[in-house]
Symmetry: C2
């Protein structure tokens, strides 16, 4: 198995982008990544997108994106794992390079969620849940995560303020990210007093509806040293795991088993422990998600995600900075793009290119991306050489 | 790169399966393949499906299928390339095993197209075309393939009867396949006199709307010899290529460039010429498609696909038997399952398990699966050891 490096990154601004389409977003991010890597062609492509069919009436995204990037006849694979589609796209590209099948591989993620002709966002997103046992009966993701939040508060004494603090911290970070959709400071009081969505979650506990795309360029590690003069970022681990798609079939709805399983594999593959991770980008689709994910990753004790947030452990100047990009909450959450955008931030931090939100002395970062209420998770660990 | 073998195959009957759901179809085919391979667990899974979102209101198929097969937390990746989703799922599984990431990998394809709550089939299938420049303006796949047929007849003198003969031949084969949706003999006259769909294509030139699933089990070639007592089928080549998604952007709409590019790569990878292929399963979504594909594969001269069919070259007793399974036309076309079902037939023939339609002395078979009007193609070459 060949070692793999990331030699280029690109992303669009995240937001309501009224004059961009699904294809234009992908191409824009891809061209920026190719330019960053200094390559004018790729050997293969992957596109992560959750539901071009429901949002845009467009499937067959492999053909579309290879065509519009001017790269056809190169192979282009579209993968989907709900909100983890971007992370999974990266993983598929890594396998392609690792196998020796292709050398220079573009992995991009995209979603065009506003100004769409298809189904409404709530219905489209709910197709990530179990349609027969959840979606059909009216369950939506704010509702499912509200159940997880209520259970966590009951079981571990997590406070309403702890949930709010996740959003406050991530907005503090997003304020420094020029690509972020919501660059504004918010307070715990504002979160707690914002419009109720599904008790105990308010609108400021939820990530927004977003248009956007992000892309990275992969190549064999040996080749990276010849292609780029920038710091070389190595893929130390890639891992993917599943769990029951429906929330009600889990023994403990506060525990994200797919993230725990993927993280365990990733730590083994990279030969590291949770304490060896310098910073992380995690899937804060709702504030409670970030708290549960910290626990599943093993970076805090079970039940202590709320307290760790309250104590500033995950702040930019804390022991383990989490979501320096602003996270899904402030940066925005174009679902298929999110997993790649997380990796964009990790690479930018490792290369020292993160501008006003740059962390000091970081060598190893983790990106965790998940689908639905945790039915799938993808974890990557990246190291700068 | 490790060599890869196929050690198990399974498929459901194809047809209007009123008491089966998307998940039950996939699980049924997967269990049959696992049973055939003699394994009770897998290390990773892939699911090929075109549009669970539009047909069934269900995305996040990786989580769903790993869960319902009782295999979670194993990683399960959903891939999409319109009607080539099945072939692409196989290719992703091959890369997984070849890379050394996983050993025993299940690749399944599925589509539940009848009795669905979502969009109608014509709209859902048209999302494989260019939504902005074809679908939005009313183009459908019968219409696009009718343009290809008209051009082929005009340019090469292909006859209406040649198109019909593709359907007649494939129904002759499907009559001998217990899994086929339409097991009935038809005549050239019946095809020509059947209901018009898009001139010159009639209803009997078109593959049907179908529910179904198919699955195969992969492992490293070295391991295959220990796991199975059946003849070992080696993956000699896997190739994937793209073309413009929209038909109007091609220089020659009778030429399927993605199939030609993928076939060329596959022949190189396997170290063979077109003449070395003993039999093939190809993507006859419409009768004209089989004719164009024969030419793009290089097994007949450009423009001679109609004549070759007329001359019996592709019949079961011809020089190159094509679609002994009945093809998409008679066996049925549950779009995400089709690419895997083709491989199911190739493996069955290579192992000598094809019953009344068994070919004599076959050692090497090819499977060609394509998306849309040829915006993507996947080609596999399999050899029995």
């Amino acid at each position: 198995m060949r070692d793999v490096a990331i030699i280029g990154i690109g992303m669009t601004d995240f937001g309501e982008l009224w004059n961009e389409s699904l294809r234009s977003l992908y191409v824009r991010a891809a061209l920026e990544a190719m330019d960053d890597a200094g390559v004018d062609h790729v050997d293969a492509m992957v596109v992560g997108c959750m539901t071009g069919g429901l949002f845009n009436g467009q499937e067959h995204l492999g053909s579309l994106m290879a065509d519009y990037l001017g790269q056809a006849p190169v192979p282009c694979t579209r993968v989907e794992s709900a909100c983890a589609s971007g992370g999974l796209a990266l993983r598929c590209g890594i396998m392609d390079v690792a196998s020796g099948m292709n050398d220079i591989v573009l992995c991009g993620g995209v979603e065009k969620m506003s100004d769409v002709s298809g189904a409404g966002a709530t219905y489209a997103l709910a197709t990530a849940a179990d349609q027969d046992y959840e979606g059909f009966h009216g369950a939506t993701f704010p509702g499912l995560y509200a159940l997880m939040a209520t259970a966590h508060m009951h079981k571990y004494g997590t406070r309403r303020e702890d949930l709010a603090q996740v959003a406050v911290k991530n907005h503090d970070n997003g304020l420094l990210n020029p690509h972020a959709q919501y660059r504004m400071k918010i307070t715990v009081e504002q979160v707690i007093n914002s419009v109720k969505v599904a008790d105990p979650l308010n609108i400021l506990d939820c990530s927004p509806i977003t248009d956007g795309a992000a892309a990275v360029i992969l190549c064999p590690l040996d080749m990276a040293k010849k292609l780029t003069k920038k710091p070389i970022v190595k893929v130390a681990a890639t891992a993917h795991a599943t769990d029951t798609i429906a929330l009600h079939q889990r023994k403990d709805i506060t525990w994200i088993g797919s993230t725990a399983a993927a993280a365990q594999r990733a730590y083994t593959m990279a030969g590291v422990k949770p304490a060896d991770i310098d910073f992380a980008e995690v899937h804060d689709c709702f504030t409670i998600a970030e708290i549960c994910v910290l626990e599943a990753l093993g970076v805090v004790e079970k039940g202590q995600g709320g307290k760790a947030t309250r104590d500033g452990v995950t702040a930019r100047d804390g022991k383990l900075p989490v979501n320096t990009s602003g996270g899904l909450k402030s940066k925005g959450h174009p679902v298929g793009a999110t997993g790649i955008a997380q990796v964009h931030e990790v690479v930018a931090q490792l290369r020292g290119e993160a501008g006003k939100r740059q962390l000091k002395k970081v060598r190893r970062g983790l990106a965790q991306n998940m689908g639905g209420s945790g039915g799938s998770s993808v974890v990557h660990i990246l190291e700068v050489l």
